[in-house]
């Protein structure tokens, strides 16, 4: 690749018709493992995978994008990639119904991963629902760098938590919240987060989950003087940067707000850069915003 433009692909993604190894049910979610050689070598925590759904003649044209949960570089199956998802429509229902040895077209790894701290600072990792999936490989990388890792997992109920047992293995401390109080502290992750961030002296707060949670986490981190790294979930059509559907308003180094693609410029953004309150709109001061109302 040549060129001097603003686009920097962090890793060349691979497209392959991957064999399904397993589809397992975990609580309210599904855990899909695909044989996809080459992904692990390119993977960094925070990358995502875009899966085609419905088979070759499907009426469902758009890819489904999921954070990568785990990768394995080799072993018996020659490299695997794993994702966790909830069935929310016909596309994810099709994925959940796959049997071993069937094929799923996957493009991975995609996107910009979580930025890692240069110093061994304490880090807090926050996952909402199955948004916790990418945090475990992140925890591993952080520990390798000598960072203390604290995990907060939250969901509506116990069924919608993902990875509580794994969190206990990969973190120095784990807090769990559920809105119905079925397990852990009753409430939301943001109820326990400020104290944890301050108490641990966290340098970075990493988060993945619903937009509302990310906005709140970014604010908590900011007021505690910590950096935040938020993996957003915007609806995507392609996942590779060509369709321009997954944009959100983000403030650049130059102070200008631009509508940027969450697939190639994200999905991980610095929390203080995202205009959370303007999601779903084009702020009037954004580069190229309509000058006279417009359609």
């Amino acid at each position: 690749m040549t060129g001097s433009g603003p686009l920097v692909l962090s890793a060349a993604p691979l497209q392959q018709r991957a064999e399904v190894l397993t589809v397992k049910r975990i609580g309210a979610y599904h855990h899909l493992t695909l044989v996809a050689p080459g992904v692990a070598e390119r993977f960094r925590p925070g990358h995502f995978a875009a899966l085609a759904v419905g088979g070759p003649d499907t009426a469902l044209l758009l890819r489904r994008a999921f954070s990568i949960y785990r990768v394995k570089s080799s072993g018996v199956y020659g490299g695997t990639v794993e994702v966790v998802f909830a069935v929310t429509g016909p596309g994810t229902a099709w994925l959940a119904a796959r049997a071993p040895h069937e094929r799923v077209d996957v493009v991975a790894p995609l996107g910009r991963p979580f930025a890692l701290p240069k110093e061994p600072v304490p880090c807090v990792l926050v996952g909402g629902g199955y948004g916790s999936a990418p945090l475990f490989s992140l925890a591993e990388r952080l520990r390798e760098r000598g960072c203390g890792v604290h995990i907060v997992l939250g969901a509506g109920c116990e069924q919608r938590l993902f990875g509580t047992r794994e969190a206990k293995r990969s973190a120095g401390s784990v807090l769990v919240t559920t809105e119905d109080g079925s397990v852990g502290t009753r409430g939301r992750v943001t109820d326990v987060l400020p104290e944890l961030v301050t108490g641990t002296g966290a340098g970075v707060v990493y988060a993945c989950g619903p937009m509302g949670m990310l906005a709140a986490v970014a604010e908590i981190a900011e007021s505690a003087g910590a950096w935040s790294q938020c993996a957003v979930e915007e609806a995507m059509a392609c996942g590779i940067g060509v369709c321009m559907t997954c944009v959100l308003p983000v403030v650049g180094e130059d102070g200008r707000t631009r509508m940027v693609r969450s697939c190639v410029e994200g999905p991980v953004f610095r929390g203080d850069r995202v205009r959370w309150s303007a999601l779903g709109s084009v702020p009037a001061d954004a580069l190229g915003a309509p000058r006279w109302g417009g359609p």
């Binding site: 060509v242 084009v282 190229g288």
Partner: protein, 331 residues
């Protein structure tokens, strides 16, 4: 009956409006950005041409999200022509395309005639541009926001100013909207105004409702429908215009997913095809379509795409007779 030939005997080269291209498969405007993101999946130089996302004079933020809705065999989009503006495009995107060996067809869009003229001048005088495609499916600020493409007179005015400012040796294609009462009238108007050929079709205007909010899904309310769902409409448009003006070069666009789909467009009268929305589903689709088209032609005994352009307009018996007389046929 035709006898199949070895796929290697098929020469996919085509000549479209005086431009020789290695094959008749392009990527459609708005579905490939400026080509660079697709380089991870295939060499963009392998395409017949890369049609860029429509470029406007100024940077443009586009419409609010949600910007897309999946629909049966297609999607609605309401991007609102988000783009970096002509300065950044000429500084970064176009040089990259040229240096990568791709053949860029630059799509331009404006909201007033003066903008089209400025874009035509600047794009037309940039090195490496193979052709200009004029997106006239934009609201005209000087005509109550009515889309240029929906009015033969306004559409022709745009093509006239673009033709005037683009050097003669660079073909100018008008991209037509199917959302008109009589497409042939619009096609004739833009050809009379100096267009070298037609690109058809742009998306169809559509809308989708959100079952949760009970409101339109798209932030922009309405959006453009694309994908295999619109292929029969696109084929009908190509068919009608080719029938009325068989000498006019047509770039066929609308739901091309396979080489067989591309063949359908050639049969209806297109000289080349563009692969669009299917890229979102399969980023390597454009090169797959090239390979598949080669084998679709070979299976039927054709050695060049030109042999099938408009073939469906000739009666079946005559079609096979004409084919038997083809001097290029390899037996």
């Amino acid at each position: 009956m035709s006898v199949s030939v070895d796929p290697d005997a098929v020469d996919l080269q085509v000549e479209v409006a005086g431009r020789r291209l290695p094959n008749p498969v392009m990527v459609a405007s708005g579905c490939a950005a400026a080509g660079r993101e697709l380089q991870a999946f295939f060499d963009v130089a392998d395409l017949g041409a890369v049609v860029t996302k429509s470029i406007m004079v100024d940077p443009r933020a586009g419409r609010p999200t949600p910007r897309m809705a999946e629909t049966p065999s297609g999607m609605l989009n309401s991007i609102g022509l988000q783009g970096p503006g002509i300065d950044a495009f000429l500084a970064t995107d176009l040089p990259w395309l040229v240096s990568s060996g791709a053949r860029p067809i630059v799509s331009i869009a404006g909201s007033a005639l003066g903008e089209y003229a400025e874009l035509a001048r600047r794009v037309g005088h940039s090195p490496g541009v193979v052709a200009v495609e004029v997106n006239i499916s934009c609201p005209n600020v000087n005509n109550r926001g009515l889309v240029f493409a929906c009015d033969p007179y306004q559409a022709a005015k745009v093509l006239a100013v673009v033709r005037r400012d683009v050097p003669r040796d660079i073909p100018v294609f008008a991209k037509l909207s199917p959302d008109v009462t009589d497409l042939v009238t619009v096609a004739e108007a833009v050809m009379d105004a100096g267009a070298s050929g037609l690109a058809m079709i742009n998306t169809l205007l559509g809308i989708a409702m959100d079952p949760l909010t009970l409101r339109p899904v798209l932030g922009g309310v309405t959006g453009g429908l694309s994908g295999p769902a619109i292929r029969p409409v696109a084929l009908r448009c190509v068919w009608q215009v080719h029938q009325a003006m068989p000498e006019v070069p047509i770039l066929g666009i609308g739901g091309v997913r396979t080489g067989a789909d591309a063949l359908e467009f050639l049969l209806a009268g297109a000289s080349a095809v563009q692969v669009g929305t299917v890229i979102f589903s399969d980023p390597s689709a454009p090169v797959r379509v090239i390979t598949e088209l080669r084998s679709e032609l070979a299976t039927r005994g054709f050695t060049s795409p030109a042999q099938v352009v408009g073939l469906a307009h000739t009666p079946a018996a005559q079609a096979s007779a004409a084919h038997d007389l083809d001097p290029l046929r390899v037996t």
